[in-house]
């Protein structure tokens, strides 16, 4: 896409659509101005720049077969993500990527797949769900367990409701704090794992969310019998380059950007258990 001779130089993209998802979350559809987008694999990320503000790593959350649009879901939490969320249609952004490794989509073929997402962690696994549904017959049982803080923060709500009507996937949604009109589960998402239907000897787990949620989810999945090397987590750290050169995203021996962001639990367990590593 861009000149690999200088991977620190972004390509220019234009915002062609902006959707307000929840209170502080927006989804942007981008289109490169003067370059061809090579596509991405579910699990990878882009470094997105708001010119004059800065750059941040953001996962892909769109349909992986759609090479015309680059889709990112962003929560307005820091200077760069706030600036990204406030972009209007027609505004320009800088794009470097795609970077990082991917969720184990090929490995998941023929197996049960259990996707566990928390909060905004649903965004990086949405491409996984699109793939699973497009290729449903190649997999065993497919389960999505999703937890949000409250019903108002449920991401992609209309899509989740549509998925729930399907008879070939299990979708369970829980919230930490219910409102009067909430009819679903209440409590942490990890509590749903014990009730999910999968063959632990032949299942792949895909987990994305806040680190503490992933730690508990990975433990619950392992306790249910899924081997740790079949439990995949996507890690988040500060990144300034995305290509293994700036040093910021280290987690022990790992560079999250270069070696990840997707890792199996057998590699992460000790590292995640160490405080402030």
């Amino acid at each position: 896409m861009f000149d690999l001779r200088d991977p620190m130089v972004p390509a220019v993209a234009r915002v062609i659509r902006s959707r307000h998802e929840t209170a502080d979350v927006w989804t942007l559809d981008l289109e490169l101005v003067d370059a061809v987008w090579p596509g991405f694999s579910p699990g990878q990320f882009n470094m997105l720049s708001v010119f004059g503000v800065g750059e941040a790593p953001i996962s892909f959350s769109g349909e992986p077969t759609d090479n015309a649009h680059i889709v990112h879901t962003v929560r307005a939490v820091g200077p760069v993500s706030k600036a990204l969320c406030h972009l209007k249609v027609g505004d320009t952004v800088g794009v470097r990527g795609p970077f990082g490794n991917a969720w184990p989509m090929d490995h998941a073929r023929g197996r049960d797949v259990i996707v566990v997402a928390g909060g905004l962690g649903l965004a990086p696994v949405r491409p996984v769900l699109y793939r699973l549904m497009a290729d449903r017959r190649s997999h065993g049982r497919v389960t999505l367990l999703y937890g949000a803080r409250n019903p108002g923060e449920i991401l992609y709500r209309h899509e989740i409701e549509k998925w729930r009507t399907r008879l070939d996937i299990d979708v369970e949604v829980t919230v930490d704090h219910a409102t009067a009109d909430w009819r679903g589960h209440v409590g942490v998402v990890t509590k749903l794992i014990g009730r999910a239907r999968f063959d632990p000897a032949d299942a792949v787990a895909i987990v994305c969310g806040p680190e503490v949620m992933m730690r508990f989810a990975a433990k619950a999945l392992a306790d249910s019998g899924i081997p740790e090397k079949e439990i995949y987590l996507s890690m988040e750290r500060n990144m300034k380059c995305g290509i293994g050169l700036c040093g910021h995203c280290q987690l022990g021996p790992l560079f999250i950007c270069r070696d990840g962001p997707v890792f199996t639990q057998d590699r992460l367990r000790t590292l995640m258990a160490t405080k402030e590593l």
Partner: protein, 377 residues
């Protein structure tokens, strides 16, 4: 041991004098190199452009101990002071460099990358530990999945004149890291100062075709067996004078296995989190980026700057820094240097130059910390 493996190309070792060194500096300039060497400034030996042997710190030596660096007059050697506060990363991986500028245009925005680095340096007086450090940064910036094109360009253009150490500082521990005090590879030319003063004689070894070509333009004469033995003896004496050590055996595993060792709290109580060690370290490579907007709003640019794992911002993600405490930051730095660097780059991140010990304002000594972590397990 050192003598036995030294100077295996006897016929290529030659002798050069002060006039020859002067010619070398001029000839490197004539070949398009910006010649950089050790210069005495503000009470320290720094690395700056030089035009003549007159610029070298002749007759000065350094005294280096934990948290202390002083220069004093002693002897008449041209290259007595060993490593100073700066390293060659100052040039190959500069502290600040602009990456690109973006301007408003009809297309919305147009990005103008900075031109590829064209600096063509010649480094005079590169120590064996520093050659090892350059090899470490080569591994980081040029031998991974992505290459830093500016580092690679500067590196390809650089000419390296090594100097084998004829003395060591108290903080040196290169033998422990197997990086010195003799340069065995990675140079174009290597000098050993056999004697100082106006009549100084240097043994010169050739390490590359470019080095060979330069030597052919210089007034030299073949070294005798006695010269070669004298050079070997000088480096052997330097090595013998180094008493600071670090036991690297099983240290990578030990550091990883002990994230909650009480010694981390002990060192954290002394560490100021000032980041001096990371700035002075010749292998520390971390950077951040800074975006700046023009006042008229028509353009913005991004620059890359050295960063340090001792700062709060370094590990910041939404919600705060991953490494909140001084303990976590020191542990990250030292564990990275001596342990996880091996996992990442199949080599040590420490070359034993001792800069982090000298330039630590409170004199924290990485060799002492490693020994303490080993002892009290």
């Amino acid at each position: 041991m050192v003598a036995a493996r030294m100077f295996d190309r006897f016929d290529e070792a030659r002798i050069i004098g002060v006039a020859g060194l002067e010619t070398m500096i001029g000839e490197l300039g004539a070949r398009g190199h910006a010649v950089v060497g050790p210069v005495r400034r503000d009470g320290a030996i720094v690395l700056e452009p030089i035009e003549s042997v007159v610029d070298l710190p002749r007759g000065w030596v350094d005294e280096q101990t934990p948290g202390r660096y002083r220069l004093k007059r002693d002897g008449d050697s041209w290259f007595a002071p060993v490593v100073g506060p700066q390293s060659w990363k100052q040039f190959l991986h500069p502290p600040r460099q602009k990456l690109w500028t973006v301007r408003k245009s009809d297309a919305g925005a147009t990005i103008e990358p900075e031109p590829l680095a064209t600096e063509k340096y010649a480094f005079i007086g590169v120590r064996a530990c520093e050659i090892a450090a350059i090899a470490v940064q080569d591994r980081v910036f040029m031998q991974g999945p992505y290459v830093d094109p500016n580092y690679a360009a500067r590196r390809a253009n650089a000419f390296i004149v090594a100097v084998n150490c004829s003395r060591a500082a108290s903080t040196c521990f290169c033998p422990s890291m197997k990086t010195g005090p003799r340069a065995t590879a990675g140079y174009d030319l290597a000098l050993t100062e056999l004697s100082g003063g106006d009549d100084a004689r240097f043994l010169i070894e050739i390490g590359s075709a470019a080095g060979q070509s330069l030597v052919e333009a210089l007034p030299t004469h073949p070294a005798t067996k006695a010269d070669i033995e004298a050079a070997a003896a000088i480096v052997a004496a330097t090595e013998a004078s180094i008493s600071r050590t670090i036991d690297t055996g099983d240290l990578p595993e030990l550091l990883k296995a002990e994230p909650d060792h009480p010694r981390w709290d002990d060192v954290a109580a002394r560490c100021l989190n000032c980041a001096n060690c990371t700035m002075a370290c010749p292998t520390c490579f971390c950077t951040t980026v800074v975006d700046e907007s023009a006042l008229d709003g028509a353009s913005a640019s991004r620059s890359q700057r050295w960063d340090s794992c001792f700062t709060g911002d370094f590990s910041h993600v939404h919600g705060g820094a991953v490494r909140q405490t001084p303990k976590a930051r020191y542990r990250q730095w030292m564990t990275h240097k001596l342990s996880t660097w091996h996992d990442q780059f199949a080599m040590s991140g420490c070359v034993g130059c001792g800069r982090c010990i000298v330039w630590c304002p409170v004199g924290i000594d990485i060799t002492e910390e490693a020994a303490a972590l080993r002892r009290a397990v």
